[in-house]
Symmetry: D2
Subunit: 312 residues, 4 copies
């Protein structure tokens, strides 16, 4: 049973402005992904110029980004269940097979819209209690978006500021996004997937898992309105927490999650590897591409590993 909301008025003010409940009908479970129309995809295809592909996922391994700070979000434990097993007799073709246990949000992932709730509600006004141990999320599980492929735009906030990476206390503001959009040389529009680069993932790659998670630059509570105004389909970045952490407003934890996922119905991605993409975009002087980032359709799940690829 949820506690009465203790979120401050300023949260509720923004919430009203970005709320998309009912916009795609009372039955909708995928929110702003509705904005990726066939036309958007055709235009996204036109962004492919060289055919060069850049993967955006971190390797999935036991020594991954999780440090134990988030209970239950375990790094992938990969085990072999068969190794060169000659199952049909000696000298026959031999099989190797493996299994994995992992937190679905352990590495490069999408949050489902149901990853957070507030005031007892999830996206589209449904009850948070519709999430159960038995079946997971009855509505808006990560199996509900059937595909995620659209135009991707890299907003390289760190590069736009001439920095290698943003400092740990930097909240990425709408003005920062404007600045990066100018660098990108393209206008973010309806159905686009925006990748916001902070450079923070370098901290993890340098071996400091705790420093990667905290303190971390990330999106400001003011950014949901920016994404809402442009009708962005989804946003991902290169941090553990997505939003600035610890938060900008004391005791207002995870407000961006609540605004993006619950109010707007807009998917978030975390731990995306944007370094190589950043280099290539800067070299080529263009920041738009076809982005394919299919969720694995875990039924009722509130998140999923994803292996996104940008095609330039």
């Amino acid at each position: 049973m949820p506690s009465p909301s203790s979120l401050p008025p300023e949260f509720h003010d923004i919430a009203k402005r970005v709320n998309n409940w009912g916009r795609w009908g009372a039955d909708d479970e995928i929110g702003t992904l509705n904005l990726i129309t066939d036309e958007v995809v055709r235009e996204a295809a036109a962004e492919i110029r060289t055919g060069h592909r850049i993967p955006l996922a971190l390797p999935l391994k036991e020594d991954g980004v999780q440090s134990g700070m988030i209970p239950g979000r375990v790094n992938p434990l990969h085990t072999m269940v068969q190794i060169n097993q000659e199952i049909f007799g000696p000298g026959t073709v031999a099989c190797s097979d493996d299994a994995v246990t992992m937190g679905l949000q352990a590495a490069t992932h999408w949050d489902a819209l149901t990853h957070v709730s507030h005031s007892g509600k999830v996206y589209n006004g449904r009850l948070a209690d519709s999430i159960t141990a038995h079946g997971g999320a009855e509505f808006s599980g990560i199996d509900k978006p059937r595909h995620i492929i659209s135009r991707g735009v890299l907003l390289d906030v760190a590069r736009a500021k001439g920095l290698d990476r943003l400092p740990g206390d930097h909240a990425v503001t709408p003005e920062d996004l404007d600045e990066a959009e100018e660098l990108a040389g393209t206008k973010v529009g309806s159905g686009d997937i925006v990748l916001v680069r902070t450079g923070q993932i370098q901290v993890y790659l340098a071996g400091d898992k705790h420093g990667y998670g905290y303190p971390s630059p990330g999106l400001s509570v003011r950014t949901p309105e920016w994404f809402h105004a442009r009708d962005v389909a989804a946003v991902a970045n290169d941090t553990l927490t997505f939003e600035i952490f610890p938060p900008e407003i004391e005791n207002l934890w995870l407000p961006v999650h609540a605004l993006d996922l619950v109010e707007m119905g807009m998917l978030q991605g975390q731990n995306w590897y944007l370094e190589e993409l950043s280099t290539v975009c800067a070299q080529e002087g263009r920041y738009a591409f076809l982005l394919s980032a299919m969720p694995e359709p875990f039924v009722g799940a509130t998140g999923t590993p994803v292996a996104p690829v940008a095609v330039l």
Copy 2:
């Protein structure tokens, strides 16, 4: 320690003809995926006409395709590790989080090149013993292909024969592929990913897991040469076993696996859902599209779940 090979001469004859060891250098770990060049990708992008997207993955769930026939290949066990947990205090934004345990080849998946070995060897002549419980596949793990996106061509063998699905004892031959290629109205070429539809997955969807796996139509031992001649990058189909099962030649188990994965270095996909794609391709009278099918980069894994999408 592998047993001495007991594979028959006819296997070794074909093996010689399709062998790609050394073709992309002694260090190569991805085989025919090398054929997906930037140019191939640019041409694949040109196949996008409507922007319509079709997902090809089965839902990931506990009641999935595995029936227990293959030890260790467990269906996904999805569990919640947090449900609307107000981790920062009562009334704050609440989090839900999940974990999964699954066989990596349990559902819609790619085999890695190391999924099978024969005569003590895996692709490119490396020792099968380079696969260990500790680190999995030292070479040619499923993390090695950094991206899989190319032109996809549906070879709808069942439809070309006017059948809803092929009977359980039907081995798909090169002649069947020719016939389906004619229906497709396009020539399969270098770097293409071929999807072969048998209709067999309908048996699973009708609730018969055992019947889905056995007996099953699938690729004939004669098909690797067909794929080799056209320099196909990868092949996937809508069966559990990929190849005809039980096999065409008595006591020659999994020869197609051994030829495709070990000799050619060509990835295989299984349990792909091709029914919706088949309907749309038939309606539109075209069978080529952009196919994105990124492996999840599990380090050292011999397979991976994949959520492919066809963009028409």
Copy 3:
């Protein structure tokens, strides 16, 4: 949020008669295990005559008792994470290590008192909502009993009736228990752990997993009063469902679970292997022994595998 109880008046009548809430204080979390006093244990030790030991657990393996009927209760998936790994260099001592994923109630197990709830409550009147995905059972988790070792008494109901095993529709009644107690030649008393043998596990051992679970003989809704009258500490048997299944009273599902666990606070054990014990007890003409059946202390868990041993 629990639904309003729809349990019939006859359930509530029995519930009142066997209820132990508050009996060991408002803070108690272990119920009738309180009855295993030091004195009971000393007397239990005196039951050891020959020193002969009989294990009562089924092997833990992937091909275990679960048939998929109970979602999430997966058989053990045992995997090697290292095999003869020379972690300190070639020629050094080599290590093998393993991991497991399993439903805690998959095989021979104890239910924790929190395994079931009714009318929104668990044992000792606590809220069922105190069980969460995050921490499991806040109260009366299986880690709370610190040890379970006492006098065990085998009530061999099948043997007392001259049967190899009870038929699938046989509800074990108080009269059946009296009869088996007479065969046992000892009076069940305070702090005893009672093992009730039906012989049903033979169905599983013969390879019929579905037939093992359903239909199954098991304890009648009238037995909790019998156990309550004798102040039994815990009860285990050789069935999947513990109680007669399907139930004696239409639409009254799992009433024995609710009475034993919630009302009395008495632990239940299932899938115990009692065949060898039955043979030895009959040969020796005595049915009492020292029973050690330690729960694995999974924090907050609602059940646990157990490897019980009877010492005669």
Copy 4:
């Protein structure tokens, strides 16, 4: 394929003196557990004086003793698969159920005899290659001892030296064991299970997981001969590594494991919680008791969690 042994002559000298291969026949898979005869068990029962029971297992939880130092040996991830699920309809009895993923040696555990190999061999001269990913240990898996209950003797080395805990570089010698045996006031004999207390587990309990594992006091390479001379059935202690770590002899890693498990065929236990037992033994002035420490019968496993209990 094992590398040629690089173990030094002094190791092989001791190995010869403690070797038990063939002692209980060529088919034996349980080694010194054969020494626990019915008579030993009867005498063990006579050690029960007060009936007081002391559990020796650490709680099983995600924040357990493993620090990530040992790949694949993951702390228990406990998840709920059902929470108060009214599976038979609203208002009926509701069920909670859980699952776990864990390294079998993650917490308080027994090593199986196959946990280590050297020179390509495991206990009783069998090939180390008989351990596979498919089935685990073909011989001497932890399912092979059908029960472990015997007389336990606490050798409280720390207390005998007047220390709270031994320093990290202290190798417990035969002389230390003699000293503790004198304190115990009983002679260790055939079939006894010896618990060696160093106090090291206090480091873990104080929150320092890394310091717990390294450096750690533990058994000296000279102790296997002491245990062999007394025909001890099994030995457990309160450390992560069992033996002194880093080792006494440079580059001779895990010699005690190799001597105890491979040569003698004597089970080892680690991470046992002996603090409460130590206090009670000291208070009562007696150090022998009935010890029940049943392995969970994971088929083919090289280790198992155990929940031991001492009954005084």
